[in-house]
């Protein structure tokens, strides 16, 4: 009896006919992104935490000092009203940053660079995903989706925020307020209120944008911190991921609270009264007294 073997002809590129792969992906003619894939991915992850996340914590701490400064500042030397003490504290914080922090402009430019790097790569990476929360409505999947949405909207907000308050694009500010560091609190209040008199609808819209922007960005940071711990292999077991999740939730909640309190504090502030305090604090005599304090 004759046995006949029938072997189907496999296509030349059938998977087990191909040798693996790494040689192809790291070939010198591969693109820049492919050659430095790992480095760029991890720098993207790291840049979200240092410097951007650290700055965000610091920024929210400074801004919310307009509220918690009421508790922290000593009996005011310049004004009797306790409600104004927070703004005094905030004024001093801003003054300290702008006069005592060395190479402020370099720090700022480095920060903008980091944000640009993080967001451009972020757009690029986000484009590799596809949303399927309709079918797989798990909490983790929603966070995955929100991480991308908050990235897109967050960068829009950051641009608006920096352009209007830092680069002076006042045509984007209802009421046309020009933010100034010497009158940081009163001008910020005017930006959020839509002018120097009462709160306008346009002002409320700006405040709402700030509320959403801060909320989304804090979520993006807290969730990104949580996923970064998985990406880098710090939290491995499901239990450790859950525990670190609680920690990130706590941090995020605290930061959101700081952000919301800041917005509320400046929204309800009376710009005229705050400006009086700032003018007093900024007078040559007050500055001299302050310098003597040190």
């Amino acid at each position: 009896m004759r046995l006949v073997t029938v072997a189907p002809a496999l296509p030349a590129n059938f998977y087990w006919n191909r040798t693996v792969t790494q040689a192809e992906t790291s070939a010198p003619n591969a693109g820049f992104m492919a050659r430095h894939y790992f480095l760029l991915r991890r720098l993207h992850s790291l840049s979200g935490i240092v410097p951007i996340g650290l700055f965000l914590i610091n920024h929210l701490l400074t801004n919310s000092s307009a509220a918690w400064g009421i508790l922290a500042s000593r009996e005011s030397e310049h004004s009797g009203s306790w409600a104004m003490r927070g703004f005094e504290y905030f004024w001093k914080e801003v003054r300290w940053i702008n006069t005592q922090v060395p190479n402020l402009i370099l720090i700022e430019v480095a920060l903008w660079g980091a944000i640009a790097f993080h967001s451009i790569l972020g757009f690029y990476y986000a484009a590799t995903g596809s949303v399927n929360t309709d079918r797989y409505a798990y909490q983790g999947n929603w966070r995955y989706r929100l991480q991308r949405i908050s990235g897109y909207l967050g960068i829009l907000f950051i641009f608006y925020h920096v352009a209007t308050l830092r680069w002076g694009w006042t045509f984007l500010v209802p009421g046309g307020t020009q933010w100034s560091q010497d009158f940081a609190a009163s001008t910020l209040a005017m930006v959020l209120r839509g002018g120097s008199s009462g709160i306008t609808f346009a002002g409320l819209a700006v405040s709402l944008a700030y509320f959403l922007g801060v909320t989304l960005l804090v979520f993006h940071f807290a969730n990104g911190l949580w996923t970064a711990a998985i990406t880098w292999g710090i939290t491995i077991s499901a239990n450790s991921q859950r525990r670190f999740g609680y920690a990130c939730f706590g941090l995020g909640a605290a930061m959101m609270l700081m952000g919301w309190i800041s917005i509320f504090t400046f929204l309800v502030a009376d710009p005229a009264k705050v400006r009086e305090v700032e003018t007093r604090l900024g007078s040559p005599r007050a500055v001299a007294v302050q310098a003597g304090d040190k």
Binding site: Y15, Q22, T25, F38, G140, Y144, T227, G233
Partner: protein, 272 residues
Amino acid sequence: MTATAQTPRRTATPDRTVTFRIKRCDGPGKPSYWQDFRVKVPKNSNVISCLQQIAAEPVTAGGERVTPVVWDSGCLEEVCGACTMVINGKVRQSCSCLIDDYAPADGDVITLEPMSKFPVVRDLWVDRSRLFHNLARIKAWVPIDGTYDLGAGPKETPASQATHYVLSTCMSCGCCLEACPQFNLEEDRDQWDSSFIGAHAISQARLFNAHPTGSELKPDRLDVLMGEGGVNDCGNAQNCVQVCPKHIPLTESIASIGRQVTLHAISKFFRG
């Protein structure tokens, strides 16, 4: 952690008719279309047994005689992964999908679709070659080929056996890939090596890296996993671990490989 979300077991109406709404496709590149089939289901039916009934009598709900619906299956006991499809919108094995759970009442509807992340061969049958190709990318094997008898391998401790046994139960079904938002349909084979490798392969890399002999290939595996389409492409949606029918701790594997890749990169930086 639950695997595929299942409706709680209710008492099923005996002798009921269930409608199967099936997404069909006549061949690669052909358009998809839906057809309804009404099946009288006996007690303890599963999706495959109903598909067999449809194959025996391929008449649609509208009374039209059509070509039988094609599907893939093997073991019929949820260990081979061949019968994986999207049932009522979620991916799972069809052989272990009990009709009494999914359609307990007369007139209930069950939708069947082929997986969307693999090219359709026909109807519910997809080509999972890329899944196996990705296992080859990370050399998911223990190298024992040689010109002489290599003798007995190193010992495994019971403790490491216990942690790694569950990883070895992967049946290459593709559920984790179907549910993953970072794993997309890619029909161009030339793109496979730079596209996301998937949770199953990452988990197998962890398994074989932990194997005393398999660890010989660890640097090769980590080189691939730190590159384009490697573990960094995971977006941590963690759908994979939710849908894996074998309850493999895929997200732990992803984190573990994340750590291995981090250390590998550091050691490469200093040792060249």
